[in-house]
Assembly symmetry: C2
Homo-oligomer: 594 residues x 2
Amino acid sequence: MGQKWKRTHHCGELRKEHAGKEVILVGWVANHRDLGGVIFISLRDRWGITQVVFDPSDHKEVAEKAGSLKLESVIGIRGKVNHRPSDMVNPNMNTGDIEIEGHELTIFNEAKTLPFLIRDESDASDELRLQYRYLDLRRPSIQKNIILRHQAAQIVRRFFDGEGFIEIETPFLMKSTPEGARDYLVPSRIHKGKFYALPQSPQTYKQILMVSGYDRYFQIVRCFRDEDLRADRQPEFTQIDVEMSFISEEDIYKVVEKLMVQLFSETIGVELHSPFPKIPYTEALARYGTDCPDLRFGMEIQDISHLVENSKFGVFRDTIASGGKVKAIHLEKSGPISRKQVDGLTEFVKTYGAKGLVVIQKEGDEVRSPVAKFLSKEEMQSILDSFHVADGDALFIVADIDAICSKSLGALRRKLAADWNHIPDNQFAPCWVVDFPLVEWDEEDKRFVAAHHPFTSPKKEDEDQIISDPDKVRARAYDLVLNGYEIAGGSIRIHQRQIQEKMFQALGIDPETAERKFGFLMEALQYGAPPHGGIAFGFDRLVMLLAGEASIREIIAFPKTTSAMSLMDGSPTKVSSRQLEELGLQLYDKKTFN
Amino acid sequence: MGQKWKRTHHCGELRKEHAGKEVILVGWVANHRDLGGVIFISLRDRWGITQVVFDPSDHKEVAEKAGSLKLESVIGIRGKVNHRPSDMVNPNMNTGDIEIEGHELTIFNEAKTLPFLIRDESDASDELRLQYRYLDLRRPSIQKNIILRHQAAQIVRRFFDGEGFIEIETPFLMKSTPEGARDYLVPSRIHKGKFYALPQSPQTYKQILMVSGYDRYFQIVRCFRDEDLRADRQPEFTQIDVEMSFISEEDIYKVVEKLMVQLFSETIGVELHSPFPKIPYTEALARYGTDCPDLRFGMEIQDISHLVENSKFGVFRDTIASGGKVKAIHLEKSGPISRKQVDGLTEFVKTYGAKGLVVIQKEGDEVRSPVAKFLSKEEMQSILDSFHVADGDALFIVADIDAICSKSLGALRRKLAADWNHIPDNQFAPCWVVDFPLVEWDEEDKRFVAAHHPFTSPKKEDEDQIISDPDKVRARAYDLVLNGYEIAGGSIRIHQRQIQEKMFQALGIDPETAERKFGFLMEALQYGAPPHGGIAFGFDRLVMLLAGEASIREIIAFPKTTSAMSLMDGSPTKVSSRQLEELGLQLYDKKTFN
């Protein structure tokens, strides 16, 4: 670029008061119309769109050149700012009061015919959009998201800096200690046959930093998990990572809530109210059927076992007799629910292990339900009363072991609220879920695994049960949940070697394995480790919620597909045999893979 | 931690005006003295050190407990702030006016006997310090560095944010396109036999972001190069990555210089003066023998060939006759240089390919040199005059092909300046080196390789020589050099496919290979690519210079050794055969490596 075409303004900048000014603008041809030889160009850059008019009666050659411009070509124009004729003023555009009378035009780069149009509501397939991500990234809605993400990152760092936290970079090439998810490995060339792992989180490093006395640490950092990607996950994701020394849970809550209030206010103008409610894990399961409750709407699960334990309906009676529960949720203003809808909802709860779904509908004085004839009038009335069921409402009942009641009704609760539009727009309902169990049973490995991670501190009062009854021990762990999404999770950590050893023992990790994997951390705990704890945010999900998007792919510049591929550059790819040789590696089955 | 031991102040906070206050402090036992039963503890945290006194006549049990504390244990104390007795006031400590009368003491974590003392001037070996990095990181000098790094990062991001740049995260799992350095590879489990690469830099992504219209991008981002580590390199390093659209070199210079002025002023109070001098590449080589000139001192290389081309000294005459040069540098106030010193310096220049070194010393009226007898009086005088050699000075002469004169005298210039203390302390002399060649000849591969990288734009006026005479083409590339270190490098990029194709052709990369490796970028250049350019800073080196350290290991929390190992956790390590199987990999020679 020479100085000649140095822009004087951005494309979102010019207003009435600039009228008469000679300007230079650069940008992309977003739109292009020929009205009887007069050429109208919508010139777009990151800041907005400005209309440029080329009139052949004034500048014949320039207008002809403009007339042949291709969409999305990159151009520069020189011209004069004019008021738009009053009938052409566009109040929906920042620059809608003016237009540029084009005098000169240069083409920096001509665009080929596009595979799809640059529009917010594109009908291009996801695959095509990811393949041409550089075009997809031009859509104004995604640009807005990427800029919002930038703003959120700046606010987060400014916040922690202001609170006395230090940003410290931790290694990406670290030790492989898979415990939970699978590591991405990186072969070492210098030490052939050995591998680094990419961090699933900087957990051990941030604890080490507390041992080193840094007291308050934070980092916005990429993490990696080689999992089978379901739904809305990415192999690499970004974490806001935080750790503090000499603190208890309340200190974490306070800092995090202050951050959340500031972040939501400064980015999207939403006022969150601190303190956030705290819900114990078992209560969250009982009331919402999940440890990620969406508090934007009610519809809490209620146990109605005591109302139907003696009923004539065998399924209810037998389930309760054999230790199960009968639980229900209430959908207000459901209107009549068709047989077909009931069938669909029944299929839905079956995917969560429920054997069936009982629906009770109230229409005027009538109560419609397949179980109506098995329940006494009093039983039915007591059920309706306990939910304050009104005309046009419905109840949904599952009878099963407690866990399945919770899971299926929890899922149904979200589905019904969404399908019936009972979730208020633009509302944000954060809460803490606390008092998690320390361990959970892993059916596949037939052993207890850490519910949070193996460095989580047990509650002091449960400490002596770690070995004898690990599943009865509560953890000093907490999750921050927003609108049904876990957006952050953390814990007070173990800072004493003997407790850490007990924890590994409870997890069935023998002392040699513990030493080989985490010896350096356990040793560090013997040289002056302060009490400490922390939290980590899923930054992608947080930004997704701020942006009001339904997928994290809309707030990541270069996301991968669910099969962990980048469609833009085609990675992962084969590499040269020389590269493999240098690493001392060969593919397991050359015939199959090479 | 219960509420009982919640600290009221940090260890660097208490002053005279707090006297009489009841306080709680927590921290590490940095020092420990027993003066006739009275125990003095230096309690340390990130913010400072406070003296705590336990007097057995007041609190017998507590004093006894304090007396048995081990160094670096983590404790909490409750007590009263007192003025120190006037003869005990320590003006070198922020808290030197006060001490705490200790009333209560708790031990959070007792430390074992340390492998080395936590002192700035530790005599522990580098290996031991890296193995116990968590202890090494407690040294006040390294804490200062880590905090300085944090501050620098915040200032850099705040600066770019303020200048309208957007921080955009780019992928770590990307396509392997080794061109220059070796990639770190990451095997894909889902696509067996295929690999991702860790980024050597986000170069292609940031160019794609310009094509996408983001206009101004920045990121502080980790990068990876699997090189044989010499000297002060790390396998992973941090880059300040910047890209701008619709700009020329001057726009980059302006933004970067503004950043540098602000960064140096706000972190270490040093005022840099913008604009920084610009030195063309060939001039840098001629005057300083390097493209990373240290401008803190003079001692420029001068060509004295024209003064000695007819001399009787055969080496000079013959070298010049066969196309070589005779060049020299001037060391002021060298004092007498011994035969042994001359031998050492001669060995030094020989490592840079020089065949020998001629020294001329002026002592009073006498000129001492082994070549004195071969040069005429006029010749000798003209040499001395051209350097204004004074009594007690020395000249160092190399006769060789130009490249070796430059290399050896450039290195000797730095060495002499350092050895003779001619480099002023706390001085920062930045400059731009510009007009780099586009390509350089690779002796090993017998082909031209990109001097900067293959996306660097040639100068417009040299464009038509790309294919015919690539080595004559100058690049639109620039390096920012500070005190002899390259701290940033960048270029205006190619934004037109046909030029990019020519560039690959000049580099001997055939069209299929170019397409396979960089097809996505070349295609992107066809859909509306703006003129753009950028720069990338080596953040580690920049912080090292700010901190006044000689090694980047002093400003990285968890550095690796020169053989790319982490001594703290022992990585890289072997991984389980299950992990390898899942990746479809086997080690090349099981016997050797497993």
